[in-house]
């Protein structure tokens, strides 16, 4: 019997090639999308999942209350906190500090090896249990001039066959002439880890070099803890919350601690009001929903097409019933057909996925390989395909098996009003989904291009950041500057203390007359020189720039409009301002400049003329002469920093890097929307074909009676257009709601104008009219005798 079902299914597919192909293609597209999204989501969810102790490993965050009741969450902690947590808080088992470090250069035979690594407490290896292949991390506790390296590091440094050599006890030298004894080689860290390093030097070494880190006020390090077995994160949180407040000896503070399970740090990296407020998890959710919706579209296509074809199948159903088939027999038969269609769709989808996977990896920056296709995964997919087939087939199966044989044998009884309504409802639903996706994709696109083109207050193109190296900002910098400015392609240079796009240095120390000391206002600080404004292109609103000739200017400040506002100064020029070691005056006010990401509002900002603090250079190069300019920079770097590597970054690239997630989501949403449109169009196409076939006789009669092709076109299109416009009316508020919610992630965003909705709708309608028109024209142009004769 089952064999018979298969047989008839295959013969039917062969006979109705076009419908079957439409069905299979729709399914294949839907399944392709969902497999790709599933792979991406799985890959995202895998991050930080490798830790054996699961939730007992946490990252320590600090909450800093600021003016207006808001709380800023930092991923940094002060160094003395480690000892306090270890000694006074029994819920904490182990604590590890980890520094933030730029890439370090190690001397090798003829040049340098650049590697990423940190200074860290050796406990980091106890907490994460990263396995060692040689030696271990015990020596890190005993000696500060030691280093453990990854296998990757070892093979770069000691050669491919490092394994054969005895490298334990060898010394490794950095370009700063610091030598470290190798005491262990650990396995490369898992790819799906936010924690990435290729070497670790004891944190004690960092402390030796930077004793100021011992101060409670320096929130400079990452901190990981392992909780005692059986303690929940929540409970531990309650216990250690006030660890800084209760233990800081020198002054009263307000910073609270909170623990975030390490497994969540990747997906939940946004904080608002001191609490977790999403992060990449939002994109995981958005895409998961998109996958489900796209599958739904494909499934609806199938349902619509199957019920529309009921007229053709009804005779067979009737005959089978008179031959003794039960409803159940017929349902099984139709379900087998839909599972088969889905199965073919699946096979086709697998083909498409394997072709698209490299492109998809390039797009998402992932490395998803065929390794994903484990037997377990395949089994799961097969189960899923059967389920999808059943879900899509269940309605048609019940519908067809319920047809009465007396009516189905005469070919009547299938033009059921309810059923036509159902089919239309499904189509409307499909178009709502599609339209929401189109509007969504357009809005995301607009917001992302808004970010990319937004005037952030300075010209980020052709701006290069280079490390200062051995150049002494208060010494030979002036000579360097003079020489550099003579080189072709160089327009300006200024020393700075931190990345202009991501100023992490902030303080609430500044004091001015009339300051309300009950309020804590945090200011971001940039230490630089008088060339800062001309190099960046930031404009002065009032007052003057620093003057190199005036020694007193090093105690003066330039502020931005946001700072002026929080300081409540009507006429700030000449007003007293002081913080840290300097007491001076405000000499200038600049426009508000986006120094941090557009996700957050512009913060109060103070510029100091403070050369000793600077550590990097910001260089303005001439457009179209960037290669030449970089070459000049390198030449000069090599002259002033013999034996050191030259690193540079374009600020515009860094800017793009800040919005990596958004750029990714823009591309993914774009492609998936195209697929959704394709699927819906396939559905519309087959439905229009069906309807015109159904009405072939009516069309013929009308033509015989003298109707023109345009009248017929209008008559047949009207029904579909009304449905599509209805979908649009429903889709717009839904899309508006979701897009509005997404845009709340940005402090600076596009306004949602009706134009966007109208354009999205117009595009959909244009596509629909094209499809309807093509089919209807075919029907309207057919010779009427043909369809009249068949009756």
């Amino acid at each position: 019997m089952i064999r018979n079902y298969f047989k008839i299914a295959f013969r039917l597919f062969k006979k109705e090639k076009r419908t079957t192909l439409t069905n299979i293609m729709g399914m294949a597209l839907g399944i392709t999308c969902s497999i790709l999204i599933y792979l991406w989501v799985q890959d995202e969810l895998q991050y930080n999942d490798f830790v054996k102790n699961g939730d007992s490993v946490c990252y320590v965050m600090t909450n800093h209350p600021i003016t207006g009741g808001d709380i800023k969450t930092w991923a940094t902690t002060p160094q003395p906190l480690k000892a306090v947590l270890e000694e006074k808080y029994p819920v904490v088992d182990k604590v590890a500090l980890l520094s933030w470090e730029p890439p370090t250069n190690f001397k090798i035979e003829n040049g340098f090896l650049q590697q990423n690594g940190n200074y860290a407490s050796p406990e980091i290896f106890d907490i994460f249990q990263f396995p060692f292949v040689r030696g271990g991390h015990e020596e890190l506790y005993n000696k500060t001039k030691t280093i453990v390296v990854s296998e990757r590091f070892a093979s770069y440094y000691f050669g491919e066959n490092w394994n054969a050599k005895n490298i334990i006890g060898e010394f490794i030298t950095t370009d700063n002439e610091d030598s470290y004894e190798v005491v262990g080689v650990f396995k490369n860290l898992p790819v799906h880890s936010t924690l990435q390093f290729d070497f670790i030097i004891p944190f004690a070494e960092k402390l030796n070099k930077n004793p100021w880190l011992n101060h409670w006020g320096n929130f400079q390090n990452q901190m990981y803890v392992q909780l005692v077995d059986g303690i929940s994160v929540e409970e531990a949180n309650n216990r250690i919350k006030n660890a800084i407040i209760d233990n800081r000896p020198d002054e009263a503070t307000t910073e609270e601690l909170f623990l975030q399970p390490f497994s969540e740090t990747y997906l939940y990296s946004n904080f608002e009001g001191g609490k977790v407020a999403g992060g990449r998890i939002e994109y995981v959710r958005i895409l998961s929903v998109a996958a489900i919706l796209i599958l739904l579209l494909a499934s609806i296509n199938f349902m619509n097409l199957s019920t529309a074809r009921a007229a053709k199948r009804s005779k067979e159903t009737g005959v089978r019933k008179t031959l003794g088939a039960l409803k159940a027999n017929l349902r099984v038969q139709f379900l087998i057909e839909s599972v088969l269609i889905t199965g073919f769709g699946f096979i086709m989808a697998m083909g498409i996925v394997s072709v698209l996977l490299p492109e998809f990896n390039a797009l998402t920056g992932k490395d998803i390989g065929l390794a994903f296709f484990t037997p377990k995964f395949i089994m799961m997919l097969v189960a899923f395909i059967v389920l999808l087939g059943l879900a899509s087939g269940i309605y048609p199966a019940f519908y067809l098996s319920a047809l009465k044989p007396t009516r189905s044998l005469t070919g009547g009884g299938v033009h059921n009003k309810n059923e036509a309504f159902f089919r239309k409802a499904l189509m409307v639903f499909q178009f709502i989904i599609t339209m929401v996706m189109i509007i969504g994709a357009t809005s995301v696109y607009k917001q992302v291009s808004y970010i990319q083109n937004k005037n952030i207050g300075f010209d980020r193109e052709n701006l290069v950041e280079v490390s200062m190296g051995d150049i002494n900002p208060t010494g030979n910098y002036q000579a360097y500057r003079k020489e550099l400015l003579e080189k072709p392609g160089i327009l300006g240079v200024t020393p700075i203390n931190q990345n202009i796009l991501d100023i992490g240095n902030s303080t609430s120390d500044p004091e001015w007359d009339e300051k309300d000391f009950n309020e804590i206002t945090s200011f971001t600080i940039m230490c630089t020189d008088p060339d800062f404004l001309s190099t960046t292109g930031i404009r002065l609103k009032e007052g003057r720039n620093f003057n190199r000739a005036m020694a007193i200017d090093t105690a003066n400040f330039i502020i931005n409009t946001a700072a002026q506002k929080v300081m409540q100064m009507k006429d700030p020029i000449g007003k007293r301002l002081g913080f840290w070691d300097r007491e001076g005056k405000i000499i200038g006010v600049i426009e508000n400049v986006h120094i941090n990401s557009l996700h957050v509002p512009i913060e109060p900002f103070i510029i100091r003329y403070d050369l000793p603090m600077t550590s990097k250079l910001l260089v303005r190069v001439e457009a179209n002469k960037t290669t030449q300019a970089i070459a000049s920079l390198k030449a000069l770097h090599d002259k002033f920093n013999p034996g050191k590597t030259f690193n540079y970054n374009f600020i515009s690239d860094m800017y793009k890097g800040q919005y990596k997630s958004e750029l990714l989501i823009k591309d993914m949403v774009f492609y998936f929307t195209i697929i959704a449109i394709l699927i819906s169009c396939l559905g519309l196409l087959s439905l229009v074909t069906y309807t015109t076939n159904q009405r072939a006789k009516e069309i013929s009669i009308r033509k015989v009676l003298g109707a023109s092709i345009t009248t017929i076109l209008r008559l047949l299109s009207k029904e579909f257009l009304v449905l599509i416009i209805l979908s649009m009316v429903i889709a717009v508020p839904i899309a508006y709601y979701f897009i509005w919610g997404w845009l709340q992630n940005f402090a600076y965003r596009i306004t949602l104008s009706w134009v966007l909705f109208v354009i999205s709708g117009a595009v959909t309608i244009a596509i629909a009219i094209f499809i309807i028109g093509m089919q209807v024209l075919k029907a309207a142009n057919a010779n009427p005798i043909k369809s009249l004769k068949t009756e």
Partner: protein, 222 residues
């Protein structure tokens, strides 16, 4: 007695009026009968046949088939009844287009859960009987009308029914093919199969042992 119908009514409501399709039908069919139902278009011939074949409901009255009252049966039992005892032959043959001659004849046996070898034997018998062994792998579209109807009859017969219901079995055939089919029915009837046919043709009706005339849903007694 094979079946008995008593005081049977069937109607539809059309614009507030009750239109009777079958009006007070009384009918008894015995084993071995060959009954022809005649009457003008719209007189209710097909409806009556469908009611007898349990493909259609009725509104009032009693219908007993082999001592079981049909009007109280559930769908499943009804299906069992006609699976077991009734074979249908249609004017437009109603073969399944996607199946071969062999497979078409085999289909009722699938629903009766015969084993594979049994099915093979029974279908082979039928093919032999109607001289269609050479055509068993053809699709319906490759056969002439008369041949298709023969397949239809073979399919109705294969499950060894007690009753064959034929709705204008020769309606789509030319006279030569029609005669052939009627000869087949005659032979079957002589072998003991009960047959009820709907027909327009006096000549075909004459093959039967009894004629029932219908007009506006009523039986006209001569």
């Amino acid at each position: 007695m094979l079946l008995q119908i008593k005081d049977l009514f069937k109607w539809v409501n059309s614009g507030g009026n009750r239109v009777f399709l079958l009006n007070d039908i009384d009918l008894t069919v015995s084993k071995g009968d060959f009954i022809s139902i005649m009457g003008p278009s719209g007189s209710g011939k097909t409806t009556l046949l469908n009611v007898i074949g349990m493909l259609d409901d009725f509104n009032e009255g009693e219908y007993t088939f082999l001592d079981k009252s049909v009007h109280t049966l559930k769908e499943k039992h009804r299906a069992n009844l006609y699976k077991e005892y009734i074979g249908f032959v249609f004017q437009s043959y109603h073969l399944i287009d996607e199946l071969t001659v062999y497979e078409n004849i085999e289909t009722p046996l699938l629903y009766k859960k015969h084993s594979r070898s049994e099915r093979k034997a029974l279908v082979a018998d039928m093919l032999d009987r109607f001289n269609m062994v050479g055509k068993k792998d053809l699709l319906p579209s490759q056969l002439s009308g008369g041949q298709q109807q023969l397949v239809g009859i073979a399919r109705a017969l294969v499950a060894n029914p007690k009753l064959i219901l034929a709705d204008e079995p020769t309606g789509n055939l030319n006279s030569k093919q029609g005669t052939e089919i009627m000869e087949v029915f005659k032979t079957l009837n002589e072998e003991g199969v009960t047959i009820i046919q709907v027909t327009h043709s006096e000549k075909n009706a004459a093959y039967g042992s009894r004629i029932i005339n219908l007009l506006d849903g009523r039986i006209i007694y001569n």
